[in-house]
Subunit: 346 residues, 2 copies
């Protein structure tokens, strides 16, 4: 297997078989990435003939894209634990094993969320001291983006998990997004400290006392779109509800507005005139320009993009892996976790 | 105190002091209600001189609006339990006591949610057999509205609570909104039965086996705006997050779109042409036309409107009380709970 051991090059394994537009948009995204930046090596993992056929459509620096054959494909509907256990030759398992073996720095996939979350824990493994790896997508706000941590599959979290999410989220936002001293808030049903369910009430003082983060208190869901915090901490069930309602409500409202504007001749003319400005507004509410959602706290980086990711989101996810490596996020997480463990032991 | 004992008349106590537009919009809403329908008696509870001054602005059937003096006002920021305990002469406590004493059928308030939720339980009291009274607002969808039950203040619910919410929500949607055989779904992070947190996993089989409801399975937050269920069951923390994100994201997107359309001259002209059609679309996403959120399972009806409620929402909330009484919702809830208790005893 051809590979670069140059420390300045980020080696990204891209799952060529996952997502709604596989393999075409994935291959396109990989080609864009290596054409635009020289510090990237991509391994396209998937069925070799299918991937190669797609790749031949492009001109690109060929030494920086390698196809890695993986016969099997994990479908979205498959029970994740079983799929990871049985499909050893799937693009997800083969790709994650490369990260585990340090043959690559990161794995990017638009495939089955469940399989990616299970594989991340089972194959790549957690950083020592990390209790749970959270999935942390960026969500668009009036002011930019916020990191919503955790939206994964491990529900019924404990306060200590949420504290680690807050720390990892802060490190990520500060170093990958460049937000100085990111504001951390916990999702709650009121602004007061005494509000909330048992989990939030127990977590609140831990966040308040934590010297490593800039904790600004509770955030009500109403304030999330206003960008009142950079790192939004919650357990995965609540995070999942927020993420999916965000997607569902945005698309419903936008399509209702478009439909409404097409309802009369007068409004149709108006729509045509307003459309360019409208499109640019809605683009601000498109988080895909920042890349996919990292699964943090693992021995390597796993990025889950939207299932509907097109080339642009794939390219940006690959860049995200470069920043993650360059900024040594995992080194910073390890250092933080070790110092916390030492403090607790004092 | 003047009052009608005519069974055909619905007696509604309206908190004239609660909400952002008190007392003007509340008084206006009450006047509209008694002018439009003859089967309504309104008690305006609040500081008599303030309320009377507002009332004198209108011509209306005077025998059907009575002012009930209440010296105190509970502010939104006050800790609810304390406020209910100490402010015996507040509009909320006086109004709720009238429902308790059967001097009125329902109490409507745009005031402090916390105080209304606490007062409902402490003053009005639960129907025997009801474990928790849920707050159940209507949320707008592509297809109309859905009932989101529970969005109250009692978090960390048990499966038996959620089962009761499903039953009460079904009775409400069938009889107040006129939706035949309403579809009941539980909020979950995936469509499969084995998905979810501990609460959802334990509740799912109870809903599935319940013969009184039309359970259609799990609903992901993404599907809520599409109107895939009529009764959306969840515990209050999750319900609160959904409700508030709904409000926050809708208003953020709409204002971003408006701002975007005002950014160039061309788009401004377009906006002017498209505006009437756009307004009618956005009106469909305005749940206030259906009235406020009922607090179900109490010995009488309590309705919480938005704090920002204007006359129209108040009038509609009063009509909602009429339907609630006419359809004997509480009688139906009692019958259902008694039959469930008997079944369990078998």
């Amino acid at each position: 297997m051809q590979q670069s051991n140059d420390a300045k090059v980020t080696r990204v394994v891209l799952d060529a078989m996952g997502g709604d537009y596989a393999p075409a948009e994935l291959v396109k995204g990989a080609v864009e990435a290596v054409k635009n930046r020289e510090d990237i090596q991509v391994f396209l993992v998937g069925q070799e003939d299918v991937v190669r056929e797609e790749l031949t459509k492009y001109t690109y620096p060929e030494e920086r894209i390698t196809i890695v054959h993986a016969e099997e494909v994990i479908e979205t509907a498959e029970p994740p634990v079983n799929a990871i256990r049985k499909k050893k030759q799937s693009s997800i398992v083969v790709g994650m094993n490369m990260v585990k073996q340090k043959e690559a720095d990161a794995f990017v996939s638009a495939g089955s969320s469940g399989a990616i979350l299970v594989g991340g824990q089972v194959i790549v493994g957690r950083i020592k001291g990390i209790e749970r790896p959270p999935l942390a997508p960026l969500i668009p706000t009036e002011k930019g983006v916020s990191l919503l941590i955790d939206c994964g599959a491990n529900v019924d979290a404990r306060p200590s998990h949420l504290l680690q999410f807050a720390k990892m989220g802060s490190i990520y936002m500060e170093n990958v997004l460049g937000i100085k001293n990111p504001r951390v808030a916990i999702v709650n049903i009121g602004a007061e400290e005494e509000k909330g369910n048992a989990l939030v009430k127990e977590t609140y003082p831990l966040l308040k006392e934590c010297g490593d983060i800039n904790f600004v208190g509770s955030i009500e869901a109403r304030e999330i779109p206003h960008g009142e915090a950079d790192v939004i901490v919650c357990e995965a069930f609540v995070g999942n509800v927020i993420l999916k309602l965000y997607e569902g409500l945005s698309s419903t409202l936008i399509s209702a507005i478009k439909k409404g504007m097409m309802s009369t001749l007068k409004s149709k003319i108006g729509a045509a005139l307003a459309l360019p400005a409208l499109k640019s507004t809605l683009k601000d509410f498109d988080a895909s320009q920042y890349g996919g959602a990292p699964l943090l706290g693992l021995n390597g980086l796993i990025v889950k993009t939207h299932g509907s990711a097109k080339a642009k989101e794939i390219t940006n996810s690959i860049y995200q892996c470069v920043t993650f490596k360059e900024q040594d996020i995992n080194g910073k997480i390890k250092k933080n976790i070790i110092s916390s463990t030492e403090q607790e032991g004092m």
